[in-house]
Amino acid sequence: MSVHDLEKVFQEKIDSETKIEPLDWMPEAYRKTNIRQISQHAHSEIVGMLPEGNWISRAPSLKRKAILLAKVQDEAGHGLYLYSACETLGISREETINDLHSGRAKYSSIFNYPTLTWADIGAVGWLVDGAAIMNQVMLTRTSYGPYARAMVRICKEESFHQRQGFESLLVLSKGSPEQQAMCQDAINRWWWPALMMFGPRDSESTNSDQSMKWKIKRKTNDELRQQFVDMCVEQVKLLGMTLPDPNLKWNAERNHYDFGEIDWNEFWQVVKGNGPCNKERLQARKQAWEEGAWVREAAAAHAAKKQKRTAAHAA
């Protein structure tokens, strides 16, 4: 079959909702797009452990500490599900990690913001995980089989992340005036960065078309962002808090909430590496990798020795 015919068969499979599996023929651009998207999604999970890890040793109670530990461990697990899916496309783990460390591969910009107070941990769970869930629920139906299956697994676990965050804020919202102020302050700082997680406006994002045609993505950035705003406006009422946007208003004609303009200048600054924590995050990842080198070497040496002993015993 010619490449043209293969592409036609491939698109027909996509159109008829047949999943693409690792050994199936796929256009090189489809493979590359998936490698990039899945690996960057994986990096986001891994880097995403850093802002929260910041509070593990300072959680206000043993219960909150245990919850936070479990959540951060989940993020590591999510990164591993995704790296595993990515490797089915023919790229090695080492290559993907190198891409992150060299700065060639990016991760979600949201993790370049600092977690300044304990309330930030609640706000991250509610808003950041909440926004991620919007994207991830869509991705459970993505066209590449291993990616879709990893997403199903992740979404099942992500619900705990969002709920624990909201519950944590709920406790603060019923606390002392200081705790209430801390809760509102965290919401104020995380709201806009959370909206930026959906990416540029549809009119600015040109690769969406191809990704939609291949059903890698199934909803546009703006659709997902609107869905998120509509959801949060209702949820914030239960906290007795407010969202920091004077332009939030129900629009009966659209059946959606209107909301204010994102500071796109800030968005591009963080994307380009000038956010509050870009350098710190990457540095922490590289340091962890370098300082873990001796562990990797020792484990490999131990395995080799054990194998030799077993072989000698068998002989």
């Binding site: 599996e21 986001s44 599900y81 080492e94 060639r104 979600s108 299956r149 968005f267 591009w268």
Partner: protein, 120 residues
């Protein structure tokens, strides 16, 4: 506004110079890759759940416990080196499964029996 970054893959992650291209050839230091299969409860088959890297089978099983059974998803784990999995080729699926395609008499519905018959 910067308009040079225009491709976005996962939400706010820009796509330009963003990985996915093979790194320069060097020694591959990855530990071997293992495929993981989990039996979710007694009485069910082991099912493929994903893969992970480990130096040996024991480490693979311990890592699989941490990665794939944090919420009691399994009662038994199998791991097998990915390189030891042999797969049929999708492009040969036609010939491979062809012998079964025209043997509809293997299905119980092929047989037209009177409605009066019961327990069959």
């Amino acid at each position: 506004m910067n308009t040079s970054i225009r491709r976005f893959f996962y939400g706010d992650i820009p796509g330009q110079e963003s990985g996915g291209t093979p790194a320069p050839e060097g020694p591959k230091n990855d530990w071997p890759l293992w495929e993981v299969f989990i039996r979710s409860k007694q009485g069910l088959d082991h099912k493929h759940v994903g893969s992970l890297h480990a130096t040996d089978a024991q480490m693979a099983i311990e890592n699989a416990r941490d990665v794939y059974t944090r919420r009691q998803e399994g009662v038994s784990i199998w791991v097998v080196k990915s390189q030891d999995i042999h797969a049929s080729r999708p492009e040969e699926a036609g010939e491979l499964y062809d012998p079964a395609a025209d043997k509809i008499y293997r299905h119980p519905t092929f047989y037209d029996l009177p409605d009066a018959i019961s327990h069959m």
